[in-house]
Subunit: 266 residues, 2 copies
DNA sequence: GATTTTTATATTGTACTACAATATGACTGC
DNA sequence: GCAGTCATATTGTAGTACAATATAAAAATC
């Protein structure tokens, strides 16, 4: 577990110091987070993806700040601001004299939107998809039930609007956007901001599903009836019906994803 | 919604620049997070608590970095490192020329351990406790069921150890520590790190409960049988029994907290 | 020779300065 | 009245210097 200070950490950006613009790394477009326009944002993403992606392994000691800043072609100031954020997400730990170490995944803030997005930067593993689905099965039926009990008329209107947008969707992109809005509206309708903050997980799960099902883009509206049942149960203030309808939706989605996986073994 | 640059933001620390040590703010000891030893850690906590505690209101424009750094008696460098973390937690948003603004609570990362701890820095509201309990009702029964299906022998041993520590607890502190370990062990036993990351919520909920029940510290072991039922159900690989037992435990805990609240209206 | 104490040293932590980038708002011209 | 231009305030970035800290080597002591 010795350090390798000579390991290549240089980002793909081919010294674009003149323009100040850095070339985007050739990675998949991640759903949730918009590409950073700040320098420390770039550094943050770069290091975050390398750590979560496994390129930088847990326990590994990063080069010292000055060297790392040089390799990344940024100032130590910018690097440190990125490091503080990585540290806040539980990915690294810095101590004087000893250096900055990648922490064990046990300490990572797995529900953080960036961490989730970085996990999906590469094609997500079957195991990770399973875990995402499990989270959906736990969260969304409960949220639907709570929404049926407590949602306001404004929140119901937002649900209606999202459903209408899904019904009117002309392509997969439209559908994906409206679908996301629907599930976010359900979480918000619980009037529990802790529940609503779990949207990062749902968003990642749905985004992954959309990517996996992208090649068979036809029949993307197949789950519309499921959504309608959830909506109607919430409107009628029937928590149990809402829970069951949502659970059916998620289970159906899981079955669908497993079928696709078996079909076109990536 | 105009800015008030003269608003007092000076921390309680009475210019302890000579020693470098800052006086601890007279706030409640928060359960999860250890007091920061770094300067930007202090600044982070200070600003975080003020924002989450409502002293700095959403939409409000903070003083510019130089002025704020002066008021906090730290360098702009340290202040900015704290700001980046606050920004990563969704609490503030900085833009050139316009300044740093406190964001709407809708954007706060409510599941972040620090944000949760800051919400509990003041006495938590009844509403917040209700939301915490709702989260427990959703998360923990599902986790217990998943643990019954998938937990390993090592994980079961950790559960056993935590239960033994609870049974052997001599005072409320011992009990609280072991109780926390038990619930963490259940989450870990799901073998789903996303589920395990929800421990910050459980920790906050249990911590709040301990504080609320501190004055009636006798009979703190009353929930031991509940824990035993959960443990045995997991050991016997009975997910439904585990789910029901855990749900009973949480509901019992909720009833208990409501009774205390009605009794000693704070 | 083993153990404790001291010292050296490498790395992060903090402060300060200077300047670049950027978005707002006022000003100008039409 | 409206579009375009420019001044300006604030954050963003870079660089330097030094303080604090923890490891490891070295020295002193038993």
């Amino acid at each position: 577990m010795t350090n390798k200070p000579t390991k290549d950490l240089t980002p793909p950006a081919p010294k674009a110091a003149a323009t100040g613009v850095r070339a985007a790394p050739p990675r998949r477009r991640v759903p949730g987070s918009s590409p950073p326009r700040n320098l420390h944002g770039h550094v943050l993403h770069e290091l975050g993806q390398r750590i979560v992606g496994g390129e930088l392994r847990p326990g590994e000691l990063l080069p010292r700040e000055e060297a790392l800043a040089d390799q990344m072609q940024v100032s130590r100031t910018a690097l440190r601001e990125a490091m503080k954020v990585l540290s806040a997400k539980g990915l690294v730990e810095s101590r004087p004299k000893v250096g900055t170490r990648v922490r064990d995944p046990r300490f990572w803030h797995q529900l953080d939107a960036d961490v989730l997005a970085w996990r999906c930067a590469l094609m997500p593993t079957e195991d990770f998809v399973r875990k995402l689905v499990e989270m959906r099965e736990v969260i969304e039926p409960a949220a639907a039930a709570a929404a049926a009990v407590r949602c306001s008329v404004e929140q119901l209107e937002r649900l209606d609007a999202a459903y209408a947008a899904m019904a009117a969707a002309k392509d997969l992109d439209d559908w994906a956007q409206a679908d996301l809005a629907f599930h976010e509206a359900v979480l918000n309708a619980t009037n529990n901001e802790l529940m609503a903050s779990l949207f990062s997980v749902i968003e990642t799960a749905l985004g992954t599903f959309f990517v996996l099902s992208a090649r068979t883009a036809k029949d993307f509206k197949y789950s519309l009836p499921h959504h309608q049942k959830v909506l109607e149960a919430i409107r009628r203030r029937q928590p149990d019906a809402a829970r069951r309808a949502m659970l059916r939706m998620v289970d159906d989605s899981r079955a669908n994803i497993e079928k696709r996986r078996r079909g076109a073994k990536v």
